[in-house]
């Protein structure tokens, strides 16, 4: 653990100062340990993240039985790989096909499947994404450089309850010779939210 978090050369913004004061106050009271804060930060930067979701996707690409389990019983199938926990206790995996493209959003908040994708990018939490993707998904996809044929059905899943979504993208053509690890490397976070294609 370093102390660099707690020393700042430049003047802190009001929000930053307030946040640092909360942490300092609770530490001074003996209520929240610096270790616990550091451990949580580390958890979200190392233990969970898109690398987990990518492993599940790659497994589904090479193993049809796993793919079936992942779609039918996602909690159990992800658990097989060791992935599960808060903000991912009721997983749904939605598969892209030649005729269906899936997108995930949380218009009310910022619900996101932490165990398999980690913390959401800023755009996912933005008012712009939350407001627009349920009303003009193709315009939003264009911003990400994704152009879909007009006959593809776009399905936008708004995470309004406790279900958390993961998009299972289609395996790209020409990857027949790749192994599971190489395939996983093709699967980005945005592919599993639906704003990119592998």
């Amino acid at each position: 653990m370093t102390t660099e978090h707690h020393h700042h050369e430049r003047p802190a913004s009001g929000a930053e100062l307030r946040a640092r004061a909360l942490e300092a106050l609770l530490a001074e009271r003996g209520l929240v340990s610096t270790d616990a804060i550091d451990a949580v930060v580390t958890y979200f930067e190392q233990d969970v993240g898109p690398q987990n979701g990518a492993r599940a996707v790659a497994r589904a690409w090479v193993d049809d039985a796993y793919r079936e389990r992942l779609l039918a019983h996602p909690n159990e199938a992800l658990d097989e790989l060791g992935f599960g926990g808060i903000e991912g206790q009721n997983m749904a995996v939605v598969a892209n096909t030649e005729t269906i493209h899936n997108l995930i959003v949380c218009t009310l908040c910022s619900c996101y499947p932490w165990p398999v994708l980690g913390l959401p990018p800023s755009w996912y939490k933005s008012e712009a994404y939350r407001a627009r993707v349920v009303a003009e998904p193709r315009a939003v996809l264009q911003e990400f450089g994704v152009e879909l044929d007009a006959d593809i059905e776009v399905r936008v899943w708004d995470s309004s309850a406790e279900v958390r979504y993961l998009v299972l993208p289609m395996r790209p053509a020409g990857t027949e010779d790749l192994g599971e690890d190489e395939l996983a490397a093709l699967v980005t976070r945005d592919c599993m939210v639906g704003t990119a294609l592998p």
């Binding site: 640092r20 909360l22 001074e28 209520l31 340990s33 003009e136 708004d158």
Partner: protein, 216 residues
């Protein structure tokens, strides 16, 4: 805020990152730790953030909202008193070093809780709706927390999977009793939600509690 206009582009410089400054990831962590350690009271952080007046909510950054809800929950629990955060802000602004607290057991305890697996109960056999049923979202104007977004109220859709059974957050948030009820994935066509759009028709799907729905 589904469907609102005027927020501009989704993709902006830096928007691919979860946060941009160290304090943002630390206040997020502090929110989780203080919650798991039982230091906050009242509705959860999300619900407290929704209590912000709309102008303040939209003016605040994502992590400013989290700072707000963390502080509010600590105040409501009496863990901290009004004025104490400001007093500490003044001390830090004057150059005082923040106290650090070592407690590795707390770190282990908190992270262990992240692995908790407690899925929804399976749906009841006598769920009111079945896959394929047409339903209409009730018109409503709930005063507090709800999981029924405005943009589907009054709109008819088709039930897909029955997700499970869960208590209505509109009540449980405020400590009110609620029995588990079915939660359904409901599919809506873009024409039904938005009328004619410039884009080809698409589908919007939401997970909705039974209480939000009526037969259509």
């Amino acid at each position: 805020m589904g469907g609102m206009h005027g927020f501009g582009p989704v993709v902006t410089p830096g928007s691919e990152l979860p946060y941009h400054e160290d304090w943002e990831r630390r206040v997020f962590a502090l929110h989780l730790v203080s919650g798991l350690e039982g230091l906050g009271a009242g509705p959860g952080g999300r619900q407290v953030r929704e209590e912000m007046d709309p102008a303040s909510y939209l003016a605040a950054s994502y992590f400013e909202r989290w700072t707000f809800s963390a502080e509010q929950r600590l105040l409501r629990n009496g863990t901290i008193d009004p004025g104490e955060v400001e007093a500490m802000m003044a001390r830090l602004a004057a150059g005082e070093d923040a106290v650090e607290l070592a407690d590795a057991a707390m770190a282990e305890r908190v992270v262990a809780r992240f692995h908790r697996r407690a899925p929804m109960a399976p749906p009841p056999a006598d769920a009111r709706f079945a896959p394929g049923d047409r339903v209409r979202v009730q018109r409503m104007r709930p005063p507090g927390h709800t999981r029924c977004p405005r943009y589907v109220r009054g709109i008819a859709g088709t039930v897909g999977r029955v997700r499970g059974a869960d208590r209505l957050p509109d009540r449980t948030t405020y400590g009110l009793p609620a029995e588990p009820e079915p939660v359904y994935a409901v599919a809506f066509t873009s024409q039904d939600v938005w009328g004619r759009t410039e884009e080809p028709p698409f589908t919007v799907l939401l997970d909705l509690w039974d209480s939000y729905l009526a037969p259509a």
